[in-house]
């Protein structure tokens, strides 16, 4: 078994193990090991943010493009998913929640993917900080445009209004007031499946011929171009895949709340996901999963600090960045871990000798 395959299997294993632990905790079959209500409410957002972080890591870590507008794709996915779900009910009286959720997530992925292609064509011509600011700009444009749109379903028809709330039928998406009266059909199990799907797509892409091409372009665009790689094609591949996954996560997120407004997908959300990616390690998929899960839980765990919790969150964020990135702190940390290792290996050697003597 090669090293990459083993590492990927460990990643899948962690996710599956975490899911089983959560299921046991929800059922409460072991005494004293039961999930609180507030924690249970965090399960679907955690799944969503894990998928968001892994998909953003594909753009930022693997393709090497800093994107500050990931929440834009999430919002496109969320609202197309919500509209799809309502339309299925009104057009076909479809009551099966699982099928509706699946179709809504597919719709979310498709529309976010279309947005990804449209945005990718101009954005990927730029580089570095300019690319970052344009993705930020697109994220804000999507949010602003969503604030002026109105959707309603009437039988099999879907009405769209621009700056015009007087539509026939049942209003599904109401401009600045957002989507109202959404059926909360998202489930934790589907979140788990989505994480596995995301991992399958991203890990397979990374370890494929295309993935190697994407990483080669990240490391040296000019060298990659000179050996005949089509830079635009591979960059688009990473960017659009990432957008599709974000859209699917968005659909799951949207269908988890009864009202969803475009304001939920502000610039702050994009930044939050970026923080998960950077803290988990840029380009490290497993790190993204762990960071997203822990950091979504952290404000919940800091409840006891109440008013100070966001302050503590900010301080933790800065300290972690300083500890992992400053050369001084790094040398201090490595000397400490070196000493611990030396201590442990010394003990091992001693115990080994003692064992020999016995």
């Amino acid at each position: 078994m090669n090293k990459k395959l083993r590492s990927n299997l460990i990643t899948y294993g962690i996710v599956i193990l975490a899911f089983i632990v959560c299921q046991v905790a929800i059922s409460g079959s072991i005494d004293g090991f039961k999930m609180t209500r507030s924690l249970k409410g965090q399960l679907i957002p955690i799944c969503v943010y894990i998928v968001m972080a892994v998909s953003l890591n594909l753009t930022v870590g693997i393709s090497g493009e800093l994107s500050l507008g990931h929440a834009g794709f999430m919002s496109v996915g969320a609202f197309s998913g919500i509209i799809m779900s309502s339309w299925l009910v009104s057009a076909f009286q479809m009551e099966n929640e699982l099928v509706r959720l699946l179709l809504a997530m597919i719709a979310g992925g498709v529309f976010a993917g279309i947005a990804g292609v449209l945005i990718g064509i101009p954005v990927l011509r730029l580089r570095g900080d300019y690319l970052a600011i344009v993705t930020l700009a697109f994220g804000e444009i999507i949010r602003n445009v969503l604030n002026t749109l109105y959707f309603s379903v009437d039988g099999k028809a879907l009405h769209i209004g621009f700056n015009n709330p007087n539509l026939t039928g049942k209003i599904v998406y109401n401009g600045p007031a957002g989507a109202v009266g959404v059926d909360k059909i998202a489930t934790f199990e589907m979140g788990f499946v989505l994480i596995l799907f995301t991992l399958f797509v991203v890990l397979n892409l990374i370890n494929s011929r295309s993935g190697r091409a994407i990483m080669a372009i990240r490391d040296s665009r000019i060298a990659a171009e000179s050996v005949g790689l089509n830079v635009t094609k591979y960059k688009m591949m990473a960017f659009v895949t990432s957008a599709v996954l974000a859209g699917m996560a968005g659909a799951l997120y949207g269908l988890n709340y009864s009202t969803v407004t475009a304001a939920k997908f502000k610039f702050d959300t994009s930044i939050l996901v970026l923080v998960f990616v950077v803290l988990g390690g840029i380009g490290n998929i497993r790190g993204s999963i762990i960071a997203a899960a822990l950091l979504t839980l952290l404000p919940e765990l800091l409840r006891s600090f109440s008013t100070y919790r966001m302050l503590v969150y900010a301080i933790v964020l800065i300290l972690v960045m300083l500890a992992t990135n400053s050369p001084m702190m790094k040398s201090v940390l490595s000397s400490i871990t070196g000493k611990i290792k030396a201590l442990l290996s010394g003990r091992k050697a001693k115990s080994g000798k003692a064992g020999d003597a016995a």
Binding site: L66, R125, Y130, I133, A223, F267, L274, L279
Partner: protein, 294 residues
């Protein structure tokens, strides 16, 4: 025609505020090569300090401005020393995340100190309005002061960077940090001075912004911060006249877009223009083109 002129004046005045904020972004970017996301929140702190100075300590407006500038200058230097200096060698993304953490820290500190209710900012500028064209076009006193302040700051900064020794050091550091150090330039001091100037400008911008839009909350600075950052990129990041041009154009576009196209889509319009400009001229309006070497 008259309404167009008055919208233009409003745009100029808002754009001047953006320009002053953008100057802080662009100077820090030029020298430290980092996006200082906490800059928008320094604006907010500056506005709160001057609010307190007037409201609680009963200082005259001019002294309140000086107090805000002093606090922000110290704040800027402290932030740089504590959070950014240890990360000079780190990747730009790591610095970016630290700056975002700093931005959260400032916002939440402000939330704890001043609470979440909106403070109504006192009118600090007592300049009479000018009426032109037989009283049909009225230009507010604040607008005149804001535009004048922007022009004065712009001229002073240009002179500072081109004529003084410190300005020369700044240009040197922004071009090549290593070579500047070899020439005997104190790089740490230069970066500190840059942060100090940027933060003092942020305090001025905070006061001007809150005089025009008197609702002060802990998140007051974030959206203008993002827009000013956009303005800096728009004009070509790292360039002082670029920040000025970018800021003013952005303000005018925003106000005209809101007035004539759609109130809700005003911001979208600003960002759309930015994207078009970057596609035609990828380094911004006045940015320098850097050739890539193999």
């Amino acid at each position: 025609m008259i309404s167009l002129l008055s919208h233009l004046m409003n745009g100029l005045s808002l754009g001047s505020v953006y320009a002053i904020i953008a100057l802080g972004y662009t100077m820090v970017y030029g020298i430290a090569k980092m996006l200082n996301f906490a800059h928008g929140d320094v604006i907010m702190i500056g506005a709160y300090i001057s609010f307190c100075a007037i409201h609680y300590w009963n200082l005259p407006p001019a002294l309140a401005l000086v107090a805000a500038m002093a606090v922000c200058t110290v704040l800027g230097i402290v932030i740089e020393r504590l959070a950014y200096k240890p990360l000079r060698q780190a990747t730009s993304l790591a610095v970016l995340i630290t700056a975002i953490g700093m931005s959260y820290l400032l916002q939440n500190s402000a939330l704890l100190i001043w609470g979440s209710n909106t403070k109504s900012f006192p009118d600090m500028i007592n300049v009479p309005a000018i009426s032109l064209l037989g009283g049909e076009l009225i230009i507010k006193g604040e607008a005149i002061v804001t535009i004048l302040a922007c022009v004065v700051i712009m001229i002073a900064l240009t002179l500072f960077t081109s004529r003084t020794k410190m300005g020369k050091a700044m240009r040197g550091v922004s071009e090549d940090k290593g070579a500047a150090e070899l020439m005997g330039i104190n790089v740490n001091l230069t970066i500190s001075v840059t942060f100090a100037i940027g933060s003092a400008l942020a305090a001025i911008a905070g006061v001007l912004l809150c005089t025009a839009y008197p609702a002060l909350t802990p998140t007051t600075g974030s959206m203008p911060g993002i827009k000013a950052f956009t303005a800096a990129v728009f004009g070509g990041i790292g360039s002082i006249p670029g920040a000025m041009v970018g800021g003013i154009l952005l303000g005018v576009i925003e106000i005209l877009g809101k007035a004539y196209i759609s109130m809700e889509l005003g911001d979208a319009f600003v960002f759309a223009v930015l994207i078009i400009v970057l596609l035609v001229k990828p380094t911004g309006l006045l940015g320098k083109k850097i050739h890539e070497k193999v």
